[in-house]
């Protein structure tokens, strides 16, 4: 059985110290699971390589955790936020726990949240069935029943088929992507937790943005894009030089002030929601880790 930090609080302290020193060294970058011999990702820096078998052997942590730690750095907008989030994640990891199963628990949490998010869909909507099937596989894995690869494949196919019935890029389709992303066993598929984490943030952000755009009576992003295209086409006809730059946003602001204000409001809401949903996703992971059995906090 895998034991996080080899059941050794001193190893956790030493990894945390090494992580902070590496982040401060200037050799840190946001490319996940990367090491070029001098610099790289946090995981690359901790290992001095990109070998995830070495990660498991040395840290007692699962591969999905390595990917999640490094993927956080690409998802967050600033390097400082990303570095702080990586340290928070490392700090939240319990010592001496088998975190293999924790991946399934994290995924079940994201799926339960998604179940609430798609609650307004009809009882027999295929996305509901797909979500139930994927959640059942994670529950079976947690119960020690080890579903067969063919069962996971079937669940993935059904999730994709259900998503494809939704309007492309709609919140429904984005929640479908969460179900698709979660349809792998984290014991054998190291990217599943990070992939689901990212898909869930995007789905929640887009659903919240759509709701607020509707509530505030803002022009939709698609309508704004069509208007910008129309401005570009009309302006192009009036210019003699076909290569002349057309400042469509300036024209939008000057001639269509209401539409310009709506576009700015849309981007502000999208930015705020991205921050809010990243925090929510991060909280799900941190609280799941903190609730893991045999937790021992690092006191260094």
């Amino acid at each position: 059985m895998m034991q996080s930090f080899q059941d050794n609080p001193a190893l956790k302290c030493s990894m945390l110290q090494k992580a902070q020193a590496f982040q401060a060294s200037g050799d840190w970058n946001s490319r996940p699971v990367y090491w070029d011999g001098k610099g790289g990702s946090l995981v690359g820096g901790l290992l001095g390589s990109d070998d995830l078998d070495q990660w498991v052997e040395e840290s007692g942590l699962p591969k999905w955790m390595a990917l999640l730690l490094d993927m956080v750095a690409v998802i967050l907008p600033s390097a400082e936020d990303a570095k702080a989030a990586q340290i928070s994640l490392l700090e939240a990891l319990p010592v001496g726990a088998d975190l293999n199963a924790c991946g399934n628990v994290v995924l079940v949490h994201f799926l339960k949240e998604t179940e609430t998010d798609i609650a307004s869909l009809s009882e027999n909507h295929p996305l509901r069935a797909a979500l139930t099937d994927v959640m059942a596989l994670h529950d079976a894995e947690l119960a020690g029943k080890s579903p067969q690869p063919a069962e996971w494949r079937k669940a993935r196919s059904e999730a994709i088929a259900a998503t494809d019935q939704a309007v492309p890029d709609s919140p429904e389709a984005k929640f479908g992507a969460v179900i698709e992303a979660a349809a792998w066993n984290p014991r054998t598929s190291r990217s599943v937790v990070a992939d689901t984490f990212r898909s869930w943030i995007n789905a929640r952000r887009d659903a919240a943005v759509q709701q607020k755009v509707g509530e505030q009576g803002l022009i939709s992003f698609e309508e704004t894009k069509k208007l910008l295209d129309r401005i570009h086409t009309e302006e192009r006809k009036t210019r003699k030089d076909p290569k002349e730059f057309i400042h469509v946003f300036g024209i939008l602001e000057e001639r269509y002030p209401k539409e310009h204000k709506d576009m700015m409001d849309f981007h502000r809401i999208q930015h705020e929601e991205a921050i809010r949903q990243r925090q929510a996703a991060f909280q799900i992971i941190i609280s799941t880790l903190q609730n893991s059995q045999d937790q021992v906090r690092c006191t260094c």
Binding site: S30, R31, P32, V33, S49, D50, D51, L52, D53, L67, D70, M71, V74, I75, R156, S157, A159, I160, A177, E180, A181, A183, W184, S189, R190, S191, V192, A194, D195, R198, S199
Partner: protein
């Protein structure tokens, strides 16, 4: 260790076009954030399909000839080659499930 093979102008024909296995080629660039997110997912997929599919990556900045030849207009773009011919492509970040479905379709699964 990453199982994705780095491909350049020099070895593209050998690794991609003359391969006996289907080859999934990821066109990426170091400045492209979605490319950074996609690569570990592709690496995971490469392990899942080890022995059935080869996964390769082309740095678009360093290999403009290949980018031009295959009309790559956005990054990341992922192209599946079979018997030296392009069979299918997608652009942008995708879940591993979508990538698996993309490979399965072309393996005849």
């Amino acid at each position: 260790m990453s199982t994705i093979i780095t491909v350049t102008q020099e070895n593209f024909d050998d690794v991609v076009l003359n391969s006996e296995l289907p080859v999934v080629v990821d066109f990426w660039a170091p400045w492209c954030a979605p490319c950074k997110q996609l690569m570990p997912i592709l690496d995971d997929a490469a392990e899942t399909y080890a022995g059935e599919v080869v996964v390769a990556k082309v740095n678009a900045d360093e290999n403009p000839e290949i980018v031009g030849k295959y009309h790559v207009r956005g990054l990341p773009t992922v192209v599946l080659f079979l018997d030296g011919e392009e069979r299918e492509r997608f652009a942008g970040l995708q879940t591993k499930s979508r990538i698996a479905a993309f490979i399965d379709r072309n393996l005849g699964c």
